[in-house]
C-alpha cells in the first residue's frame, strides 16, 4: 500500500512551501499526496450562504493551483474541499486515510488569527494521528 501524505494548502506562500515539501517527500518515500482546503463556517450572524459560495470558489481555485503545482513536479495530487477547522480536518483526514505524514506550513495561514488563537501547526501537535512535518517559509 502506498504511503499517504496529507497537506493543507490555502494559496499562501507558507502553504506553498508545505505543498512542495509534501510532493518532494512523496517522491522520496513513494506515495500519494492529498491536498486539503479547509473552511470553517461561521455559525453566528445568521445566514451565510453567499459567503460560503464565494469561499468555495476561492477554495476550488486554490486546489486547482495545487494540482498544477503537483503536475509541474510530476505528481498526481488528490484534492479535497472540506468544512471544519483546519487542524481538526487535517487530523481527521489523516486518520481516515491512515496517513504516513501530515505536512503543514509553519506560517502563512491567517497570521493574525493564528497569533490570537494559535497556528494550525501548533494545534496539530495535540490532534495528529501521525508524525507532523512543519515547514517554515524561507
Amino acid at each position: 500500500m502506498p504511503n499517504k501524505i496529507i497537506t493543507g494548502y490555502d494559496g499562501s506562500d507558507g502553504g506553498k512551501v508545505a505543498l512542495e515539501e509534501a510532493i518532494k517527500l512523496s517522491n522520496e518515500i513513494g506515495g500519494d499526496v492529498t491536498v486539503l482546503f479547509a473552511y470553517e463556517k461561521v455559525v453566528v450572524g445568521g445566514e451565510s450562504h453567499d459567503l460560503d459560495e464565494a469561499v468555495e470558489a476561492i477554495g476550488e481555485r486554490v486546489l486547482a493551483d495545487a494540482v498544477e503545482i503537483g503536475r509541474a513536479a510530476g505528481a498526481e495530487l488528490t484534492t479535497e474541499y472540506i468544512e471544519g477547522p483546519a487542524a481538526q480536518t487535517l487530523a481527521t483526514v489523516a486518520e481516515r486515510e491512515a496517513a504516513r505524514y501530515i505536512v503543514v506550513g509553519g506560517s502563512g495561514e491567517a497570521p493574525l488569527k493564528a497569533w490570537v488563537l494559535g497556528s494550525t501547526a501548533n494545534k496539530l501537535l495535540a490532534l495528529a494521528p501521525c508524525p507532523v512535518v512543519v515547514v517554515r517559509a524561507q
Binding site: G45, G46, E47, D50, A54, G84
Partner: protein, 500 residues
Amino acid sequence: MPAGSEPGDKGLKSNAIGFVSGVVIGVASTAPGYSLAASLGLVVAVVGVGVHAPVIMIAAFIPMLLIAASYYWLNRADPDCGTTFSWVTRAMGPGLGWIGGWAIIVADVIVMANLAQIAGLYLFLLIGIDAPSTIAVTAVGVLFIAGMTWICVIGIELNAKTQVGLLAAELITLAIFAVVALVRVYAGDAPAGSVKPSLEWFNPVGIGSVTALTSGVLLAVFIYWGWDTTVTVNEETEDSAETPGRAAIVSVFVLVFTYVIVTVAAIAFGGPAFLANDESGDVLGVLANAVFGSDLLGKIVIIAVLSSAAASCQTTILPTARTALSMARAKALPAKLGEVNPQYMTPAFATWLMGIVSVVWYVGLTLISENMLFDAIAALGLMIAFYYGLTGYACAIYYRRQLFKSARNFFFIGVAPVLGGLMLTAIFIKSCFDLSDPANSSSGQSWLGFGPPLVIGLGFLLMGVVLMIAWRIGGHPEFFGRKLEVADPALVARSPAGGA
C-alpha cells in the same frame, strides 16, 4: 470541481447546529442585556406608557413573531445572506429589493453608534467612573467599534460553545437582578419612589393613547431585533423534517420572559419616574448598583451588559457585511464589496467599510448632541418596521400560488406574514406622523421643523432611493433586468407543520 469534492458532501462537519446552540444563538443575537440597557428607560419615558412598559414588551413581540414566519419560509426558498434584499428582489422586483437591502445596512450602522455608546459608558461604570466626559466615552466607543470590526475581519468570532457560557452568565445575572429587586420591593427595603408590581401594568387598555402604544412598540421592536436570524440557521435535529424552527420558538419565549421580568423589576424598584427621567442612558447600570447595594455585585450586571453588547456587535457587523456581499454578487452594489479576503475567508472590504461608516456616524451624531443617540433608536425602529414589513409582504407574494392549497399554507405563509407586515406598516405610518412633531423626540430638537428620528429615518430611506436610481442610471441590467419569481411548489410540499 477538484477530485474528491462532491456536491452535497461538504466534508466532515456540517454547519448544522444543535437545539441548545440554536436557542442560544437566537437569544444571543438579540442581546437581551444590551437591548434592555439601551431601550428600557426610553420605553418607560414615553408619555402614557410608564408602568405599562411590560405590556409594551409583549405587544412589540407579536409583529416580530409574525414576521419571523416569513423569514422562515423565505429562507427555505432562498437561503441567501442578503435576506430581505434577495427575497424582496425576487418577489417584488429589484427596485424595492435594493431599498430593503439598503434599510438593513442603514439600520445596522445606526445601531453600531448605540452599541458603542453603551460599551463606552459601561466600561467606565465598570472601573468606577460614574460620569465620564462625552469625549472619553466616544473615544472608547470608537475603539470598541474598531476592535469588533477587526475581530470580524480576521474571523475569530465566538463559537457556539463560548456563546452558551456568555449567554448563561448574562441571563443568570439578569434573573438575580430581577429577583433581588423584587424581594427588596416587597420587603419594603427599596428606595423612595418604588412601587409594588400590579396586574394593571399588563393591561394594554391602561396605556393612555394609540400614540403612546405605537411609540412604545416602535422603541421596543428594537429589543427583539436580531432574533429572526435564528430561523435562518440550520438546526440539526433527529427529525429535521418536523422540528426546524423549534429553537427559534423556545428562544423567543426566553426573550419575552426575560424582558417582562426585568422590566417589572426595574420599574418596581426604581419607580417609573426614575426610569423615565434618567438621562444617563444606562438605567440598568445605575439600578444594578442600587439593587445590590454593593458596587461589586452591581458590576456583575455591568459585565453582563458589556458582554451582551460585544456579542450584539458581532451579530450586527457579520450580517451587514454579508448583506453587502450578497448585494454586490447580485450586481446591486460595486463588486469590491463582494470580495472575500483569501487569507481570512471573510468579506474584509465590506466589513471594514461597515466599521468606518459606523465610526463616522457615531462621532458625527455625538458631536451634534448626545441625545441624538436616543433619537437614533426611534429612527432605527422606523428602519426595522420598514424592512420587516416589506419582508412580510414579500413572503405572501412569493408564495401566492401556494397559499390556497391548504389551511396551513394560508395561515402560516399568507395571513401571519401579511398581518405582521400590516402591523409594522401601521406603526411606521403612525410614528411618522407622531415624530413629525419635534416635541415627541428625546432631544426635543427641531430639524427642518421635524423631529430628528423622522429626519434620520426617512432621510436615509430617501437617500437610498436616490442611490438606487443613480446605480440604475449607471446600467447594471443583470440586476435591474431581473424578472419577478414565484415559489417552487415543492418547497411547501416537503415542509414541516407549523413553520416558525
